[in-house]
């Protein structure tokens, strides 16, 4: 092969190599410094453009010397965009992340620790619901402020409950599975859950299963109780008590299915309510109820606001954060998007107002402020996404019937421990 290579080819290879070096040199030169301007990158909330424009206008009054740029990317592209910007040396100063993504960045040292700022200005810390604020602490440092908050709860279809002769929401895991079975016949399913970002974890937690040891060093979930739980879930799935979409669907399918009115219970977080109501003409106080899952456990899936380490003006960014998390602005935000923001004062007023003009929505959001001491599935874990990626496929294997529960959990245990070791 390497005998007689036409000269043209050699020159090509040479050129390739040379230009590669050249390119590498290019790529490693630092990016140009930007003028006094901060940008904030939100996660799939393009519908609030008006509000963000008002933020920017207001901030211009406070800091006339600073321009603010707003960017929005939806979930799947958000990391791609942000990471590209980071490598290019121009990360958006403020980022809004959902679920556990922030951990990836914080643990890798990509985010500014906000604890000192809050130490300086204690009133800022006091604004927020402490339980929610605590979600964004990694190794004792607080990396994000609440933007808007939510955790899982149980929506249920009262009509279907009546048909099945069920009084109220289930009080135990067994009852939950039992109800699911009772309500599933024909095209009707008993129950659905969202599965991304550990949202399904309360099922295990309510059975006393712990994913990891307290020091987060090793997996502790492979217990007889866990096997039982998983077997129950698998059985319910096989019998149609739980709709299979629970384990494969993301957002539209489960919520759409529940909105269609032939699913008894939906385990999801509060934003689902508005999506469902948009598609469910049948929905009202008589036909629709909300409750905590047995044991009151819930997985938070809140949105936080943090500052990139690469930011040229972290202090200005902090000022901006202070402004937008103030009572005035969180109240506006809550009202327009019907979310809670973790700002105690504005959340109270919002809920009071909402109880008058939209009691049903109020009852949903109310649950988000109850039992906030029982948050689970939010381990402050550097390898969160890798653990998730090691664990969840095995759960799928079990609930969709490719492996027995014990096999799956055993396999998961080794994989999770491997992920933790890295």
């Amino acid at each position: 092969m390497s005998t007689h290579i036409p000269s043209s080819r050699i020159t090509w290879i040479a050129r390739g190599a040379a230009s590669a070096l050249f390119a590498f040199a290019l790529l490693n030169t630092p990016a140009l410094a930007q003028q006094k301007k901060i940008s904030f990158l939100t996660w799939n909330i393009a519908d609030q453009e008006e509000l963000f424009k008002e933020w920017i206008a207001e901030f211009k009054k406070i800091r006339p010397d600073v321009d603010v740029e707003w960017l929005d990317k939806k979930g799947p592209e958000f990391p791609a965009y942000y990471q590209t910007q980071v490598i290019a040396g121009t990360p958006p100063d403020i980022i809004n992340t959902q679920g556990g993504l922030w951990l990836e960045y914080a643990a890798a040292g990509g985010m500014v620790d906000l604890t000192p700022y809050m130490a300086k200005e204690a009133e800022v810390r006091k604004r927020f619901n402490a339980d929610y604020l605590a979600n964004w602490t990694y190794e004792g440092k607080n990396y994000m402020l609440p933007f808007y908050i939510s955790k899982t709860l149980l929506f249920y279809n009262k009509t279907m409950f009546k048909e099945a002769g069920l009084a109220g929401p289930p009080q135990s895991f067994e009852q939950m599975m039992d109800y699911a079975g009772k309500m599933s016949k024909g095209d009707k399913t008993g129950m659905l859950t969202l599965n991304f970002d550990w949202l399904y974890w309360p099922f295990f937690k309510m059975n006393g299963v712990e994913l990891l040891s307290p020091d987060l060093k090793k997996a502790t979930f492979n217990t007889p109780k866990a096997v039982q739980t998983l077997e129950a879930l698998a059985k319910a799935t096989a019998d149609g008590g739980i709709n299979k979409i629970s384990w494969t669907g993301r957002w539209v399918e489960p919520n759409g299915a529940f909105a269609a009115g032939n699913v008894g219970m939906l385990h999801a977080h509060s934003p689902a309510f508005f999506f469902i109501r948009g598609q469910a003409p049948w929905l009202n106080a008589e036909t629709f109820g909300v409750a905590h899952v047995p044991g009151g456990w819930a997985t938070p899936n809140s949105h936080g606001l943090g500052i990139s380490k690469g930011s040229k003006h972290p202090d200005i960014a902090w000022e901006f954060l202070k402004m937008v998390t103030s009572e005035k602005w969180t109240a506006k935000f809550s009202e327009r998007r019907k979310v809670l923001t973790g700002n105690i004062a504005s959340d109270t007023t919002t809920l009071e107002k909402m109880r008058k003009d939209d009691p049903l929505a109020a009852s949903v959001l109310q649950t988000q402020l109850e039992q906030t001491d029982k948050l689970t599935g939010n381990w402050r874990l550097a390898q969160d996404s890798r653990v998730k990626n090691a664990f969840y496929p095995e759960i799928q294997n079990a609930v969709l019937g490719r492996k027995t529960a014990s096999e799956a959990l055993k396999e998961a245990e080794t994989k999770v421990n491997r992920a933790l070791a890295r």
Binding site: T189, K244, I245, Q396
Partner: protein, 321 residues
């Protein structure tokens, strides 16, 4: 660094032998022609160099590094390539990718049949062409969403039809089953890409000199004979191209899989490209993703080279004189 060009060699050698026939004589004229050739090639080469080759080399270098988005990055040799060997998800996705490729010929045969039909003089062939083509320009996201629904176990169209026709009594969980997730995606992919194949093949059919058929039919050759003696042989370049496109989509059709299954359940519909994306942007293992990219690329070069050889070199070009 030397990796990519070096790896491209076997392919090159194969092609070079099949193609390069240096002509002698006509020195000046020849030189002018050569200059013209390179000038003509230049724009395309520049684009490819900037947006394909440099990024590839970037990946090659990254694949030997221990890359951290924020911290220090150092060289760690072939560690990532070693990891790959134990990474069963990698092997699954590799296997799935090959299955994906294997499905390409199915689509091509279908498209070929359609192309021949709509190239014949049927009334309303423009309408038919448009209908077949319709699905290609549709945004993949939309394709994914709608097919997801059609496959749904409870409310999907397929199950609805099958059940009302009484063919099955228990609905099939297409995308929720480990066996059917990938085939289901493949079908959706064929549906979307059929129009693309058709265009390529139609363009190819236009290159076949009419008079060959005329001569043949005067000699009393049947339609089938004409098909196998004239059409297919002369269509080879386009068929080869269609195949290459099929391979390409199997390595790049990210959106469809991502919208329909995110590679699940339990990686049973994971492709190399989705796995690469996950590693790069969800598991923040950019370096490992780079290594995967390199491997995928080498695989491709091999495949293309093979396909090229099968189709007779010269990217299937056929002389008509």
């Amino acid at each position: 660094m030397q990796n990519a060009p070096a790896a491209a060699m076997p392919a090159v050698a194969g092609l070079a032998h099949a193609t390069a026939r240096p002509r002698h004589g006509g020195g000046l004229k020849r030189r002018r022609e050569l200059i013209l050739i390179w000038v003509f090639l230049l724009p395309s080469l520049v684009v490819f160099f900037l947006y394909r080759i440099l990024p590839l080399l970037w990946n090659v270098m990254l694949s030997f590094q221990d890359f951290s988005l924020f911290g220090k990055t150092g060289w760690i040799g072939i560690q990532h390539y070693r990891d790959m060997l134990e990474d069963e998800v990698f092997w699954t996705s590799l296997w799935n990718t090959l299955l994906y490729i294997a499905s390409a010929p199915v689509g091509i045969v279908l498209a070929l049949a359609i192309a021949l039909m709509v190239n014949a003089e049927v009334r309303g062939r423009n309408v038919y062409r448009t209908i077949v083509f319709l699905s290609y320009p549709l945004m993949t996201v939309a394709v994914g969403i709608i097919w997801r629904w059609m496959y749904d176990e409870k409310v999907g169209l397929f199950n609805y039809v099958l059940r009302t026709l009484g063919i099955i009594d228990t609905p099939l969980p297409f995308l929720q089953s480990f066996e059917w997730a990938l085939p289901s995606i493949l079908l959706a992919n064929v549906w979307q890409i059929l129009g693309f194949y058709m265009i390529i093949l139609l363009a190819g059919l236009q290159n076949i000199p009419q008079n060959l058929y005329e001569a043949a039919s005067i000699d009393g050759a049947s339609a089938t004979q004409q098909l196998f003696r004239i059409t297919l042989p002369l269509l080879r370049p386009s068929i080869f191209l269609a195949f290459v496109i099929g391979v390409m989509t199997s390595f790049t059709s990210f959106d469809l899989v991502y919208v329909m299954t995110q590679g699940g359940p339990a990686h049973s519909s994971e492709l190399l490209v989705t796995y690469i994306y996950k590693n790069a942007f969800e598991l923040s293992k950019v370096d490992y993703a780079a290594a995967l990219t390199v491997v995928q690329f080498l695989l491709l070069v091999a495949l293309t080279w093979a396909g090229n050889r099968i189709s007779g070199g010269e990217a299937g070009a056929v002389k008509t004189e």
